[in-house]
Symmetry: C2
Subunit: 312 residues, 2 copies
């Protein structure tokens, strides 16, 4: 994970098995999830978020998170990532071989309360707890603090860039190793993304900065382009563009991972990902999640046939 | 029509009633088209492409082009635009009150032959003919030369920027008043768009440069953003994202006009267009073109409710 501007390699985190499932009506079986991970890894994906540490009875979609983390542990050079929302989840995560734990620290109390039932300050306490717990456990678990609604909140309204930067710094002082800024409700425009990324990279670089975008209003890929051009080198997406947000009515999901791979390669960035191979995940989505809309375009049309579009 | 970088006003050309209809299985009635134009104009759209001058028996979708041109002639400060593919079409156009005639001069002979049955050189002859004919007619008709497949061709392959620039200059020497570069088959990426627009504006500015994009591979709005940031101030779109291309299998259509309005306003450009009012066109599309996919997002989710996204 680096965020040097000169470097043209981009790390893409595929979050379909976590962010892509949390609002879905149906979900892939464990066997299908394992196949998803295998195809992604074979295609060159090196960072997969595969679940949340939540009570299994209320969140059956994520009941197999430990098995998937173990699977990724057996793959060459691949980072497993998962979400925790409370101390119990953090403890459970520490008992696995998980590489990266994700904690959410919303830019607004309104979203934070609605999302995880904690104020932003209480969410910061979970970062402190995790920092302490991993140290006591002698564990190398990487800690990512995600800042939802960093570009505006569907509950609290506008969010000031300075407040996001201050919160990012507090997260880092509290123990986070990386910061993700998330356009949870799909409010961001590319100029705004460019501006916040520029300021954040200046302030927190070389700490890894992750940009997590949704495509609610058609600007998702443009926002990703703006982030890349400012020097961001870690971006999130979900295969097919799965996902959504309970606080953004009518919102489509995350930006489609396959379209993000194409964007990067089309612009001269390298991802190490074989797009054609990656598209083997699409039939798994179609089979196991028939009610979900696949917003990604590359699965339908493929890359341009007659022009070079990638350095690979 | 200006293309000064300092100016933040963007002219958006709505092409739904021409480019959006040419591959459609059904199409709005003349009454519905008139309503479409009325809503667009009321919303602030000042540039509408409303048909092609083609034989009515083979192209019934455009049989009412004269009536629509006459309608626009009666509206305040609104430019009517239409396509012609041959001398007969140009002659017919000159007999109307049309404001702007669009001629296509492909970047490759392969596309030009497949599209209009002429080589690029023969297409240039139509520009020469039109220049002469309008002068003889004493007519102020503006002449736009559109360069299809300016970012790569699904028949001939890669297209060199220098060749596009040279062709644009030839079109201007031959009589064109404005140049449009079109990503007809949806091959473009935003860095490529930025590069070509930068070179073209340097070479042909202050001649108006129009950028016409399709959203085949998810990069359409990112490409528009890249063009805007380079100083392009005239862009095309179709309501709902209607359209397609016979030479780009599986391709979705043009970039959605409503999403383009949102992008511009979200980035601090002004369009003079009331987005909410504009969305009144969507029900006309749903009613009259039930087989077409509406790719635009703003009709589904609307603009962000809680943050300022436009200067209006």
């Amino acid at each position: 994970m680096t965020s040097s501007h000169a470097d043209t390699h981009v790390t893409l985190r595929e979050l379909g098995l976590r962010d892509g499932l949390q609002m879905a009506r149906s979900c892939p079986s464990t066997r299908q999830k394992r196949e998803w991970i295998r195809i992604a890894h074979d295609a060159g994906v090196r960072h997969l978020e595969v679940g949340s540490f939540l009570p299994q009875d209320r969140y059956p979609h994520f009941a197999d998170v430990r098995e998937l983390i173990a699977q990724i542990g057996g793959l060459d050079d691949c980072v497993s990532s998962a979400l925790a929302l409370n101390e119990r989840g953090v403890d459970d995560a520490l008992a696995t071989a998980l590489d990266e734990i994700v904690l959410t620290v919303s830019a607004t109390d309104g979203h934070s309360m609605a999302n995880i039932g904690k104020t932003t300050e209480e969410a910061l306490n979970l970062v402190r707890y995790t920092e302490l717990a991993r140290r006591l456990a002698g564990c190398r678990l990487r800690l990512v603090a995600t800042i939802p609604v960093a570009f505006g909140c569907s509950i609290a309204g506008p969010v000031r860039p300075d407040d996001v930067i201050r919160l990012a710094c507090t997260c880092l002082e509290t123990g986070a190793d990386a910061i993700a800024v998330a356009d949870t409700v799909g409010y961001a425009g590319p100029r705004q993304v460019a501006g916040l990324c520029r300021s954040l990279l200046k302030r927190i670089g070389p700490t890894p900065l992750i940009v997590h975008l949704h495509d609610t209003r058609g600007t998702g890929i443009a926002n990703a382009y703006a982030a890349l051009e400012e020097g961001v080198r870690i971006l999130d997406g979900t295969m097919g563009g799965l996902g959504g947000c309970p606080f953004a009515p009518g919102a489509t999901g995350n930006i489609a991972f396959e379209d993000l791979v194409y964007l990067c390669e089309r612009c001269g960035y390298t991802t190490g990902i074989d797009l054609e191979h990656l598209l083997g995940i699409i039939p798994i989505i179609r089979d196991s999640m028939p009610d979900e809309t696949i917003t990604g375009t590359l699965g339908r049309v493929g890359p341009p046939a007659k022009i070079p579009w990638s350095e690979q």
